[in-house]
Symmetry: C2
Subunit: 315 residues, 2 copies
């Protein structure tokens, strides 16, 4: 049986929506969800549910990490935070995955310091999967590494290759490199050098992908540095909000627009972001995640464990 730890205190709608998502995520699946967080808060929420058919366990952690706190300092100074305690359960082998909607920086820092990197991975990366007309696209790094070397981008592609093979059963994932032009001579220094490494690798490298190709899904994996990746994801969110606002003004609740919102930006629809390259399965959901998003993140955790994604990355 798979045991997934869920941070009950992480995210804008914690603990209410997190606990609800955990209960729904556990129900009917052969998994156990361990809710980690402040006893009083978690017990109060849990009392609202009939837990029949849902394996829910708890683990108390009385500290919490705020979104505005410095990640490294918070992880060092708060050993009893829900993030630190949750990651420790994965580290000790008591659980197989950790899901949190809390501070991305704090979760990534705790995972790096406690779980450690897989051999062969210099820089774990944060990935998201978004929908496109030609299928799911894995995009990474979206923020773990602001400055990258060409070989880091090659490693991101290798990790993405494993992920798409295992999670989406794509036999030869098509790899793209985000750049400012199609030709191999285009790009900044980083992208041009990464292009050469990718072209020489055994990956199914299709070449450069431009900004306008991203929503179209030209490749199964797109790699970039964490600075550009973060700008891309946040810009998509921002444009999606403008779009959602405008469509609300036009036609209330038109199903096409609900679909569009998902397509354009709502990667929570596909389970949140995940950290690749650490010794464990770590999923970081959007801060605005509701119960449905948490449930999907738990399903993703389950699948990552079953498919042994963390084991297959690195050596």
């Amino acid at each position: 049986m798979i045991r997934v730890v869920v941070d009950a205190m992480g995210g804008d709608y914690a603990p209410r929506e997190i606990v609800r998502g955990a209960v729904e995520g556990a129900r009917g699946h052969n998994i156990e969800v361990v809710l980690v967080g402040r006893r009083e808060a978690v017990e109060k929420e849990l009392s609202d549910y009939d837990l029949d058919g849902a394996r829910i366990n708890t683990c108390w952690a009385e500290e919490t990490v705020g979104m505005e706190e410095d990640p490294v300092r918070a992880v060092r100074r708060k050993p009893n935070s829900s993030i630190a305690v949750g990651i420790k359960l994965v580290k000790s082998g008591q659980a197989s995955a950790f899901v949190s909607g809390g501070s991305t920086g704090a979760v990534a820092t705790a995972a790096l310091l406690s779980l450690g990197k897989k051999k062969g991975v210099s820089r774990p990366a944060l990935g998201i999967v978004f929908g496109s007309p030609s299928g799911p696209v894995l995009f990474l790094d979206v923020g773990a590494n602001s400055d990258c070397k060409p070989r880091h981008l090659l490693q991101f592609a290798e990790m993405g290759n494993v992920y798409m093979k295992r999670i989406f059963n794509i036999s030869e994932p098509r790899i793209g490199l985000l750049s400012n032009g199609e030709e191999e001579t285009k790009g900044n220094k980083l992208a041009r050098a990464a292009y050469q490494l990718l072209a020489k690798s055994e990956l199914n490298f299709l070449g450069n992908v431009e900004g306008h190709d991203l929503p179209k899904g030209k490749t199964d994996v797109v790699v970039t540095d964490g600075f550009t990746g973060n700008v891309v994801v946040k810009l998509s969110e921002g444009l999606g909000e403008v779009f959602a606002e405008l469509s609300k003004q036009a036609v209330d609740n038109n199903p096409i627009f609900r679909e569009a919102e998902k397509q354009i930006l709502n990667y929570t629809a596909l389970g949140g972001a995940f950290l690749l390259g650490v010794k464990g399965n770590v999923i970081i959901t959007h801060g605005k995640s509701d119960a449905g998003a948490m449930k999907r993140a738990i399903r993703l955790a389950e699948r990552m464990v079953e498919q042994q994604v963390a084991e297959a990355i690195g050596t």
Copy 2:
């Protein structure tokens, strides 16, 4: 009287839409438009119009630069291209501005080689203006410089400051730096160093702007390197296309969506991209520009000349 040169051969809808836009742009304004391009093609198009009230002149250039050609090579090998001849008219003082929907690289290269840089400007930058709920936002560099130094970003901010003062009458333009977090400690090495230079400058620097802030218009100017800027603009275009397609499926021709398309991506609505930091006014419109977009670009050229933007940049 202001004389604006228009590249009749540049863009997907050249020469038909370009010539039409030129005639409409010249009509009723105290400007002369010089159409530069292949004699046969331009004369054929011009024969469709009654030029009463529109000062149109012509200048023949029998070569053209293709979108797929290497910009530097094309500019060197084709001295009689519409781009090279058009830029030369500005260089010699016979005209005050050049407008082209042709290859961005070729126009920028010709402008740099022929007109040269303004003193005090290390790297001319390509800017666009997009609409936001709080007014127009100048975003640069969108592709002229893939690799930048911190001082280049400072210069982009200085040029943007002049532009927004002169073109939009903003007395103290608010300057933002695109980054992956609000705090000054966020960013890649380039952004963190540029932050320090901007904070020490006399500009009205508001700090970092994130991807999701871009469509909201948190500042009047946003600076970034040309790699990230290019990805941002092309991603916005790509998302805008998805959005336009979806809204077409939902409600044909709803005015809110036409407005939204403009807001989200259609910077051609505001006259196209422009090169700041060279000795002359150079406007590069989108390749998909129609007559309306060309007309707006001509208006922008007129205003840039009147407001002496090129003169005011650098020293």
